[in-house]
Symmetry: C2
Subunit: 664 residues, 2 copies
């Protein structure tokens, strides 16, 4: 029974499972858990005493059937696939020094994975690997992964290493935190390192994901955060993680609650595991949930983990419902979109429609025009002065409207030129002007601003040519071209904009890019609504463009070298690429942007931009990431190149704009 | 005029150049050098005072022609391409903090490279990059590389960093050796690191190579050795590197001589550079070279670097001529060959022909059979005992011959079965037996040894099924199959074999594999005569197979984890893959093999085997390389998988034998 229902939310996270012991009667195990309101169980597929080498000796040569938990007929196909996560035998040790143990483990792993696949299970839980010594285990899992159809393999990783958990609060803590493996040099007690080595050996296979064990101790918030960018499918919440409330019931610390809520919003399924440590007396307490059904409770009470499930369900139901913006964005989360090429292509009506709905954006423009008009025309000159305002890239007219409203508010007279190169948008623009009765004030110019011969000079030049990365839709080139019809002391709105960039963990995006199976897609930027993405360091400014451009030699080529330091409590991390954003100064203190720390609220015109790395880069805890970023300009196109030189060196991406460029 | 002529040697190394200063009359510069017996000059293409930004200001808007050293007409096309290496302006500083300097440098680099390309020069010499801060320089060179047709770019790198050279012999030396760059963590004074960062940014482009500056100080022998695996095209030998002999003439230290000789054999061109520091009085000394022409000498004496050239020429001519084996192998050097698949395919006559010529190999076999016969049949039983010897995989008969000769030598009686699956080889075998009159002793069996029903049990089983990596042509599987007709106390020759492996730098091989532009070729092993390959650590044993196989459960699957430590004086290095070898015990102390430290001399049947890495792995000085190697066995094929886990983690290569396998 799902934990609850939230508007617009159809994620897997609303299902909760229980970890179960081996039973030769899996049907009974499942009934018991379903009866206790769990949605699924994580259960071993073979008897834990089974060892292939032993069985082979006993069988004297005849083929061995492993002691599975019943035949495939004991459950229906849909029961197997919706309610059972297979638990691969925990005695497996593929990196044991003992060759027989390794061989038994390999045989069993392949038999169990093969059986799970035969049953069409959605996932199997793999036992935790040896810390930083998982070569043979990873090789075997990698072999299995190549042949899987849809099944996921969840690698079980403790969120806190047992050694760190034991040392918590003692003087050994820091020592353990910094301890490095002798051979690999990696941080032995950072369990993320265990995961990272394993999945790198398996080449980031998209069907290999993580199940995190959550116990009483939690790592630092930043260390938790980096997991959000990893392929996290399940969290195994141990009963030992729970505190006890006044009435004897299990509850979680604030930090644990936050973690669980974060997991819910990132579609991570919870599995409850362990012995019941809270003996709650019957009858059950008065439920806080109006929907709870007394008759059912009697039966449910039998499951020893039921009170934990109830608490998790309570956490789920008390989450805030998604906002309107969140609901709009949900369909776009972590989905790669090609950036617009507005200079080369004409936008479609639907695109205009979407962007025009972004009222926050136009109200910022209106504020900026208002302030510019007040500065430009003092009150005593209102009657005698007409300000010439040109909207370059007027589209279907939203900036014309915002400008006229600003004029009305300030009582300033305006003559507006609306310049638009898309002839289809011009049709709508004409009809808007007629409809609104703006014929005397607004002149429509169907022309590319870079080629228009303006009949007079403008006081104010208004444009909305910004892409997610600021200059990436070639606003600098357009406005440099247009500024020849701006008065010497004229104002450009926006007056400047800056791009920002920061390293991210984004395994889903990496795999989506990889699935194109070519180089070009790894050298292309994508517009993405980041969701299961971990920002590893605050974004830093990249390129700034000022308008009008007062340099004698206009040059929009740029180069920066940026150093990112991950917060020391993050631990090590993997960088799949970079998240790009912008912030624009429309006029003086009126700004507009998506840079996370200063983002304009309630604005949906821009998602972030994602610059991938061809090979993800491992960042050991405490090391610096050095990024080089170039904006290159050729006769017919503009493009970016990027490269990393620390802690390791990447090739320069997108040489000569071979894979990705914006046409002039 | 070439340095000399050696038999079978047609390399570039016999041409020697001189570095020249800028001259607006390059024709005159060239004549002067050619007159001094140099083959080419390394000369600047533009006046060093040229700066594009300055020129642009002066030119007042008209297009700028850089002050090149004459038009393309001053030399003939063949003169340009055979005698001129362009020297890119040394004032360039693309990683300067000064934006104008960067911009001028970029413009000039592109102009000069464009001009050199227009002239069809074979190479241009690029100035030395800033240590570990070469992002923008590398990006620019990378852009240039994409558009080049055939021209090479030689990046100039000092063999010893100026700081290390200055500190040589002082107490600062060790400190500087260990000093790391703050951001990248790399060794600042190891100039190999400068090169490695640059070429990694340029993605190992095959037209980017190294020109090493050689001065008076040399690094440790191991530090020099790693350069042999790099794309080394030129060495710029400074006059300051020379000592002075009794007669006042320049000469080189023993270490320098060894280095230059090594460079000659690896096809590295020498360029002499610097001021003349040895004022040798006229007339020239009596030449040691019988070919020298007195009339020419008068003219040559004018060139200030002539005495250095003469010394280098002397070094070249005193090199030992290549041995017969070297001449045989020359055509195979660093050339990728697919390993044989003798089980699935039948060898061609030519292949038999080549291998049968390897007399060393068969004399080792003869020794082994002799020793086995003596052990098996004591003198007193000679008359009454006939030893049954089976040659499995007899081919066209060389092992039959070696066995019969051993019998003759020892006076032992022999009954031989020659088992061969290739029906074409059987034809030859039959006629050999007739020709030699062996009909009474040798029975030919045209059959796969794994399927043959032998009429009796053998005392000795002789085979030559070994590949470069020992077991890679499936000798274990064949002999396991054949041993059912070996007596319980019978002898297998070979009685065991072990594969060996070690990390190598092999940029040429890496680029050859890369040129296939697919994954499969990076997961395939190749047979290669290693030449421009640096062995970074001694090879270590991998898998051993014993015959007869006495295990109750025969299992030819294997797994090892190996740790390689580079000698501390090597510095950092790049691993492109692994060199594989084998050593076989034929019988008791008679062995056969290609493992470098114990290789059987004068044997040419096997070259090494090369296991590539998909991405070369950087090994910082002092770190350990951890390699995992698996031999996997399936129902129809055998394959290897391999992965590195330290100092960084690679994906597992060749999962499930998807790219490379040997059919059973």
């Amino acid at each position: 029974m799902p934990l609850g229902q939230r508007q617009g939310d159809n994620g897997e996270a609303r299902y909760c499972g229980a970890e179960a012991a081996f039973s030769s009667d899996i049907q009974q195990s499942l009934s018991f858990a379903l009866g206790g309101s769990f949605d699924f169980i994580v259960a071993p597929l073979t008897d834990p005493v089974y060892r292939p080498s032993k069985a082979q000796q006993d069988s004297e040569g005849s083929a061995i059937v492993p002691p599975f938990s019943g035949s495939d007929l004991v459950l229906s196909p849909s029961q197997w696939s919706s309610h059972i996560v297979g638990k691969i035998s925990t005695w497996l040790d593929l990196d044991s020094p003992d060759a027989l143990m390794r061989s038994d483990s390999e045989t069993t792993l392949k038999q169990e994975a093969g059986w799970a696949s035969h049953l069409s299970l959605q996932a199997c839980l793999l036992p935790t690997p040896r810390p930083l010594s998982c070569g043979n285990y990873a090789r075997c899992v990698n072999q299995v992964l190549q042949g899987l159809s849809n099944m996921q393999l969840w690698l079980r990783i403790p969120l806190v290493s047992p050694a760190m958990e034991a040392a918590q609060g003692t003087e050994n803590e820091d020592l353990l935190f910094l301890e490095r493996d002798e051979i690999t040099g990696r941080f032995k007690n950072d369990t993320w390192e265990w995961w990272n080595m394993f999945r790198t050996l398996c080449e980031h296979h998209s069907q290999l994901s993580v199940a995190l064990d959550i116990t009483a101790e939690l790592p630092a918030p930043n260390a938790i955060k980096r997991w959000i960018g990893e392929p996290l499918r399940a969290a195994i919440l141990h009963t030992s993680a729970f505190l006890t409330n006044k009435r004897g019931y299990p509850c979680l610390s604030k930090q644990h609650q936050n973690l669980i809520t974060t997991l819910f919003t990132h579609n991570v399924q919870i599995v409850i595991s362990g012995d019941c440590l809270h003996q709650v007396d019957e009858p059950p307490p008065p439920s806080t949930d109006a929907n709870s059904n007394g008759a059912e409770d009697v039966y449910h009470a039998k499951h020893p983990l039921k009170s934990y499930l109830e608490y998790v369900s309570h956490l789920y139901r008390k989450m805030d419902p998604p906002t309107e913006q969140e609901r709009f964005e949900m369909g776009y989360r972590d989905f790669l979109q090609a950036p617009l090429q507005p200079l080369m292509d004409n936008l479609e009506a639907q695109t205009y429609e979407t962007f025009e709905k972004d009222s926050t954006k136009y109200s910022q423009y209106q504020k900026a025009v208002r302030a510019a008009l007040l500065d430009r025309v003092p009150d005593r000159k209102v009657a005698t002065t007409t300000t010439v305002l040109m909207v370059v890239g007027a589209g279907r007219g939203p900036l014309v409207r915002a400008s006229l409203q600003a004029a009305e508010e300030t009582g300033r007279k305006l003559r507006v030129y609306a310049v638009e190169k898309n002839p289809n948008a011009v049709v709508t623009l004409h009809s808007l002007i007629k409809l609104e009765g703006w014929e005397d004030v607004v002149t429509v110019i169907s022309c590319d601003m870079r080629r228009w011969n303006a009949p007079e000079q403008a006081d104010i030049l208004v444009s909305e040519l910004l892409g997610s990365f600021g200059d990436n839709e070639l606003s600098p080139e357009c406005l440099d071209g247009a500024q020849r019809f701006l008065k010497k002391d004229g104002i450009s709105i926006p007056s400047s904009y800056t791009s920002f960039i920061g390293p991210i963990t984004a395994s889903k995006l990496h795999n989506d890019v990889k699935s194109y199976a070519d180089l070009a897609h790894f050298e292309t930027a994508y517009v993405v609504k980041f969701h299961s993405v971990a920002r590893l360091a605050p974004p830093q400014p990249v390129f700034t463009f000022d308008h009008p451009n007062l340099e004698t030699l206009m040059d929009n080529k740029r180069y920066v070298k940026l150093k990112f330091e991950l917060s020391p409590d993050t631990g090590s991390a993997l960088v799949h690429g970079f998240g790009g954003y912008f912030d624009a100064v429309l006029y003086k203190d009126v700004h507009l942007g998506i840079e996370p720390s200063t983002a304009t609220p309630n604005m949906f015109s821009w998602f972030a931009i994602f610059f991938p790395l061809r090979k993800p880069i491992y960042i050991p805890a405490g090391s610096v990431l050095e990024l080089h970023f170039w904006r290159c300009v050729g006769p017919t196109k503009v493009w970016y190149e990027w490269a990393v030189t620390a802690p390791s060196v990447s090739p320069v991406h997108n040489v000569n704009g071979r894979s990705y460029w914006v046409g002039l």
